[in-house]
């Protein structure tokens, strides 16, 4: 089966247990990722996009926990796996690149030693093989081999982030999960890192799940896009189509919030108001209080409608006689 998804997320729900009661940071999240696919997830801070990633990679720590749902990676459910089983899968088949390389790399170990650590943890004993693989992945991301002997503080921000990606690629994973890897970088470094990730992905064939708050960043790189708002996915579809023809008023608002650098200089409005407190989320559609197009139906939670080019959780598509999917 060439087209079996490498990752199938079904009904993933993550709760934070707080003194004021459980807060659902991710609610009934579904996603399939095909081999070699680049999926972007966009949303504002607090929408649950990073929590969702951590829920998929089983990296949540209390008070957060997966309360419902399954995450099937190549057919096996990560949620029910023991730590020992996870340890063999993570990094080898599914690796994670964190937001801040400065915090994710060990500040008192040379890069080469950190690469070796990871490989030994996964059963590689031969020094020669370790050395060779470390050199290979470093070359892949375009870092000079002398930096195997460098400490993280000796590298620039862009190089540290590329070193993180090199580490993630040590075992030729099927899926690389990236949590805002470029947010600490300048535009020029950001762009060169994105081009490099895309090039590596095409060369090595891994799938990418890429989370960012900057929609314009993934516009040219992701095949599919998931838009999240207040713990839920609100629109899923091909990146190109969503940019050309957004199916959810929130997506539309997000697109209108970016000033253009080349087009006409138009006054923009952004989205008035701020996202809801997830301790007491609004009944019905969670975007309704900020939505310029809300109407009576919005008091009821919208299902996903087939919005033509994408799937969108917005009742406006019911008015247009679109079908409910899933």
């Amino acid at each position: 089966m060439p087209d079996a998804p490498v990752l199938e997320v079904r009904g993933l729900t993550v709760e934070y247990l707080t003194d004021a009661g459980p807060v659902r940071a991710v609610e009934r999240f579904d996603l399939d990722i095909l081999p070699g696919e680049f999926v972007g997830v966009v949303g504002e801070s607090g929408c649950g996009k990073s929590t969702m990633l951590f829920g998929i990679a089983q990296l949540l720590s209390p008070p957060a926990r997966v309360s419902e749902g399954s995450v099937r990676f190549r057919g096996h459910d990560l949620v029910t796996m023991t730590d020992r089983q996870l340890a063999t899968t993570r990094w080898r088949d599914l690796s994670v690149v964190m937001q801040s390389a400065m915090n994710a790399l060990n500040p008192v170990a040379q890069l080469g030693d950190q690469f070796a650590d990871a490989m030994r943890a996964h059963g590689e004993r031969s020094r020669a093989t370790i050395r060779q693989r470390a050199e290979e992945v470093l070359a892949l991301v375009g870092i000079d081999l002398v930096h195997l002997k460098s400490y993280p503080h000796q590298l620039s921000g862009g190089m540290r982030q590329r070193a993180m990606i090199a580490m993630a690629l040590l075992f030729n994973p099927d899926l690389v999960i990236m949590d805002e890897p470029t947010s600490a970088l300048d535009v020029v470094a950001q762009r060169s890192l994105m081009l490099q990730v895309k090039q590596l992905q095409q060369q090595l064939g891994f799938a990418v799940l890429f989370v960012t708050h900057d929609m314009s960043l993934v516009s040219h790189f992701s095949d599919r896009l998931v838009v999240m708002y207040a713990a839920k996915a609100v629109e899923i579809g091909s990146t190109k189509e969503i940019f050309a023809n957004p199916g959810h008023p929130y997506t539309e608002g997000l697109l209108d919030a970016f000033p253009s650098i080349r087009g006409p200089r138009l006054p923009l409005t952004g989205i008035p108001g701020s996202p809801p407190n997830l301790l007491h989320p609004p009944v019905g559609c969670r975007f309704a209080p900020r939505c310029p197009k809300r109407f009576e139906m919005c008091d009821v939670e919208p299902p996903f409608y087939d919005a033509g080019t994408s799937r969108a959780a917005c009742h406006l598509h019911a008015l247009a006689d679109k079908k409910v999917v899933q």
């Binding site: 535009v187 060169s192 997000l254 087009g263 989205i271």
Partner: protein, 347 residues
């Protein structure tokens, strides 16, 4: 007021503004050139964007204007008067209330132990002696209302943790506005905010200029937002100002190769992806520099002269200047053109 300001002088002007920092230990003393010989003017009722990568020196410029740092050399003139000549408390208070600063991180720049009203009322007490004590609260409410914080009375009694990022940054602007400023120095004021609230704040800044005639130095790495609100733009690289001019002109027709790189790197969903310029370079740390253009290691146009002579800002078309030997030569500037032609011969 009797602060001896010169009539008709620009609101703020810098000449040869330079700030160095000592780095390294006692034996290997070195000098980091954070800002070198930066000259610009800001006029009344105008938003000037200062853009550049992190480490380019743009925040140091902000701190020099806010008098957090003293210049190593050079001078800042406020309405024609040198800042270094400000001696009395009254002069300094006057400058601070005319030129307040808004910081990047609204989570770190408000005191968490005090209600929102605290910072605003303190500013009013210090800088607005014309308002009697019992009217201060009403004035604070008026300011918050103008910034779209509604109901203002309620917002004043909140603690910072009760507010969203966008609301906090509005409070940052409210504190600055309480002083009736002439020029707000805003250091990355929207970079920590979500995209959906960012535009609201940019519109607010444009409104302050249009309705109250406040000037703003808008420091940012987000060029698209600079284009959205600014009248003029200045580009910094490694402590030098490398290009400045009217925002549309600079972004549509960038003359300096660094500005071109920067503009090309901005992700634009409305345009096709172009992969022609891939640049792995990084801005240099400017420690004990030798003369020459600081962009030369990354520059696609580099000539011999670029290694020897530091290019100066040259006006290439009205109001639009760039500090690049090659750009100047292309625009037909005499002696530099000869220098470039000379070094070209020797290749």
């Amino acid at each position: 007021m009797s602060r001896h300001y010169t009539e008709g002088a620009p609101l703020l002007e810098t000449r040869g503004l330079t700030r160095h920092f000592k780095v390294g230990g006692a034996i290997a003393r070195k000098t980091l050139h954070a800002v070198d010989d930066v000259e610009f003017t800001i006029r009344d009722r105008e938003i000037v964007a200062l853009v550049g990568e992190s480490g380019s020196g743009k925040s140091t410029v902000a701190r020099l204007l806010a008098r957090v740092y003293r210049p190593t050399s050079g001078e800042i003139y406020y309405r024609g008067r040198a800042l270094s000549s400000f001696r009395t408390r009254r002069d300094l208070l006057g400058y601070r209330s005319d030129v307040p600063m808004v910081f990047q991180d609204p989570f770190a720049s408000l005191n968490p132990a005090y209600r929102v009203s605290h910072g605003i009322m303190r500013g009013l007490a210090l800088h607005r002696p014309d308002i009697p004590r019992h009217q201060r609260r009403a004035e604070a409410e008026r300011i918050l209302e103008r910034l779209g914080l509604d109901p203002a009375g309620e917002a004043l009694d909140r603690f910072p943790y009760e507010l969203s990022g966008g609301q906090r940054q509005r409070i940052g602007f409210a504190q600055a506005l309480a002083y009736r400023p002439r020029l707000i120095v805003a250091d990355e004021p929207v970079s920590m905010l979500d995209v959906s609230v960012r535009i609201g704040l940019l519109n607010l800044m444009a409104g302050l200029r249009d309705e109250q005639g406040v000037s703003i130095l808008y420091i940012t790495h987000d060029i698209a937002s600079a284009r959205y609100i600014a009248d003029r733009i200045m580009v910094m690289y490694a402590g030098h100002l490398v290009e400045s001019g009217p925002v549309e002109q600079v972004l549509q027709d960038p003359r300096h190769p660094y500005t071109q790189l920067l503009v090309a790197a901005v992700p634009d969903p409305r345009a096709e992806l172009t992969v022609d310029k891939v640049d792995h370079g990084e801005p240099p740390k400017v420690v004990d520099p030798t003369p020459g253009c600081r962009f030369r290691w990354r520059c696609p146009w580099v000539e011999d002269v670029c290694h020897r002579i530091t290019p100066e800002l040259v006006e290439l078309s009205p109001g639009h200047s760039a500090a690049c030997h090659v750009a100047a030569a292309r625009a037909g500037y005499g002696d530099v053109a000869v220098a470039v032609a000379d070094s070209g011969d020797r290749h």
